[in-house]
């Protein structure tokens, strides 16, 4: 790469005028992006967590929980956005609905998988000691399921952040604006600025959520890797207890591993 073109790409980023807090400036768009991401995550969590916990605890509707994750991953994010906007019109609501719809599957599936993967002897002991059902859920099952639940939340976080970027195409705000506007006006420095900032935002959000995970998940439930104890790892792709899972076909460990792989990743 030549130096001069590189400088061209960085033009927008280094332009002081873009860093005020005016409408359409970088900080403003950044804030907007983060705001919508967090709101969506909250709504999706409020919907998906209780459902996932319920299905996991009672094991009724398991088929739904298992397959909704796969279905969600197969949905083209851009397609869903376009569908909502065409149906309802341009605006924040259709985008939010699409974002929530895309964020629910990973949280639901991971929460369900997390509860199912909890050691049944520990649950039996909890009941046998005299915990009431709600206490069993909150004091035993959830803490043990936390790694998988957290991985689902983190996947959803990144999913929403990514889709919110794309939503700029249908009039949404956020950092995607830089990308879309830049593309349409051939201001590639603006595009580059948008891309870099979004990437950085996503990485920072991921690191923050990893820190949250590390602080709320008990050290006793962190992942132990096979024979070589590598300690816990905080990448978004998986973080799960090594107890056996609920499905058929192959050996216990393989199932757990397969579950980890499939519950933890969504498309961006």
């Amino acid at each position: 790469m030549l130096v001069t073109p590189m400088l061209n790409y960085f033009g927008y980023l280094f332009d002081g005028g873009n860093w005020s807090f005016a409408q359409g400036s970088i900080p403003h768009l950044l804030l907007q992006h983060v705001e919508y991401t967090l709101i969506t995550l909250l709504i999706a969590a409020v919907i998906a967590l209780p459902v996932g916990l319920l299905i996991g605890h009672t094991n009724r509707g398991a088929l739904l929980a298992i397959n909704i994750g796969n279905a969600g991953r197969a949905l083209p994010t851009f397609g869903l956005l376009s569908l909502m906007v065409t149906l309802v019109g341009i605006g924040t609501l259709p985008v939010l609905v699409a974002l929530v719809v895309l964020a629910v599957p990973p949280i639901l599936t991971s929460t369900y998988a997390g509860i199912r993967a909890v050691d049944s002897a520990a649950v039996d002991a909890a009941v046998g000691m005299g915990m009431r059902p709600l206490q069993v859920l909150t004091r035993a099952e959830v803490p043990m399921a936390l790694p998988l639940i957290m991985s689902g939340l983190r996947s959803a976080l990144l999913q929403v952040c990514a889709t919110a970027t794309v939503a700029a195409y249908v009039g949404f705000g956020g950092l995607g604006r830089l990308l879309i506007d830049g593309l349409s006006t051939n201001h590639y420095d603006e595009v580059f600025a948008g891309a870099v900032l979004v990437a950085l935002l996503a990485i920072v959000l991921d690191l923050l959520s990893a820190a949250v995970q590390r602080s709320i998940v008990s050290p006793g439930v962190r992942e132990r890797r096979g024979r070589r104890h590598r300690g816990s790892s905080d990448a978004p792709m998986s973080d799960a207890p090594t107890s056996d899972a609920a499905m058929s076909e192959t050996s216990e460990q393989t199932e757990t591993r397969q579950q980890q792989v499939s519950t933890a990743s969504t498309s961006r």
Binding site: D119, A121, A122, V123, D124, A125, A126, V127, G128, M129, G130, M131, R132, Q135, A140, P143, M144, L146, V217, S218, P219, G220, V221, R224, P241
Partner: protein
């Protein structure tokens, strides 16, 4: 006292796990439920703390029907130990032990202090308190499981194959610890195992179950060994009942010959003592090489030990020692055998006519 009164458990689909069970588990004693897979022993146990509810019949603890009590509160008064401990991986060892007291509202500091004390009682070092279950071995986890069950000082304990998942050496240690704890605490314990040897070793009373949930026989280990109710029980208890029964007879009444007889030598063997009078070995045919003793016994030891010592001694003679290890008697195998026959005859004579 725990009472089963005509308790039956039939599962939907027709499987009868427990069939018309009536048995009493005396207060302060260990009652072992033993039998082959599918005999209903675990189901019966789990009906005591209402993890399963009977189809018919009642279970009472000290006269109070358990089905009339709030299940959760009932369980907090019953210690529950299961096969793989079921410790909470997300809590430290000390917090695991303190679970029930905390549930009952005891303040955290107090509960943790008591938990630490219990940790020591079950033979674990205080340094384990802040570790997580995943860092403990199987045997250690089981001990924590027992401590956890003891934490609220329940009068009743239920134990479902608690020592089955560890290797025999660890199991032996755990069993000894358990008996020591019971001597200290005197709880009413219902213990399930599939291992008849464990049942005989640990039980004050043993209840043998047949597949299909029928109680085949209940009694002291001695009674089961001496008097099996039918062929199933006899088979289940196993051959060499007679030999095993020797574990329950002590050497108190056994007459011994003076040590001097054997120090002087007889039948080509001579007992060699050291300056303090402690046995060193046997000299055979005046050889200077001493053959070691397989061991020695005290009057409180079982006749099973004495018999084994006599058989495995190079001279066929078992040596008795006192509290300091000084030899104070010797008995040849023939005398041991005669003694056992006499004991048997007495027992038969004592038996009330049927």
């Amino acid at each position: 006292m725990i009472t089963f009164d005509a308790v039956t458990k039939a599962f939907p689909g027709g499987n009868v796990a427990v069939d018309d069970l009536s048995v009493e588990l005396p207060t302060g004693q260990i009652t072992v439920f033993v039998g082959p897979s599918g005999c209903g022993k675990t189901t019966s146990l789990r009906m005591i703390n209402r993890m399963i509810d009977p189809t018919s019949g009642t279970i009472a603890i000290d006269g109070e029907d358990v089905s009339h009590q709030d299940a959760a509160l009932l369980r907090r008064k019953i210690g529950y130990v299961i096969q793989h401990a079921g410790l909470f991986p997300h809590r430290t060892v000390v917090d695991n032990i303190a679970t029930v007291p905390l549930l009952n509202g005891v303040n955290k500091k107090q509960a943790r202090e008591n938990a630490l004390e219990l940790l020591g009682r079950v033979g674990l070092d205080e340094s384990m308190a802040t570790r997580y279950p995943a860092q403990l071995s199987g045997g250690q986890q089981q001990r924590v499981g027992v401590a956890r069950a003891l934490a609220a000082d329940p009068p009743v304990m239920l134990m479902d194959e608690p020592f089955s998942a560890v290797d025999p050496i660890v199991r032996d240690g755990l069993q000894k610890e358990f008996l020591r704890l019971q001597a200290e605490f005197g709880k009413t314990i219902a213990f399930v195992t599939h291992d008849i040897d464990e049942a005989i070793k640990l039980g004050d009373r043993v209840a043998i179950f047949r597949v299909g949930g029928h109680l085949a026989q209940v009694g002291t280990p001695q009674e089961l060994l001496d008097d099996p109710a039918d062929e199933f029980v006899a088979d289940f208890v196993g051959r060499d009942r007679g030999f095993r029964g020797l574990s329950f007879i002590t050497a108190e009444g056994l007459d011994v010959e003076p040590v001097k007889t054997w120090v002087d030598g007889r039948d080509g063997v001579r007992l060699v003592l050291d300056d303090d009078g402690k046995p060193q070995g046997w000299s055979v045919n005046d050889s200077t090489d001493l053959r070691p003793l397989p061991g020695t016994f005290a009057p409180s030891d079982s006749m099973r030990l004495v018999t084994d010592l006599a058989i495995s001694s190079p001279s066929g003679v078992a040596v008795r020692v006192d509290g300091e290890g000084i030899a104070d008697g010797a008995v040849p195998h023939a005398a041991v055998a005669e003694h056992l026959v006499a004991v048997r005859r007495d027992a038969e004579g004592d038996r009330a006519p049927r």
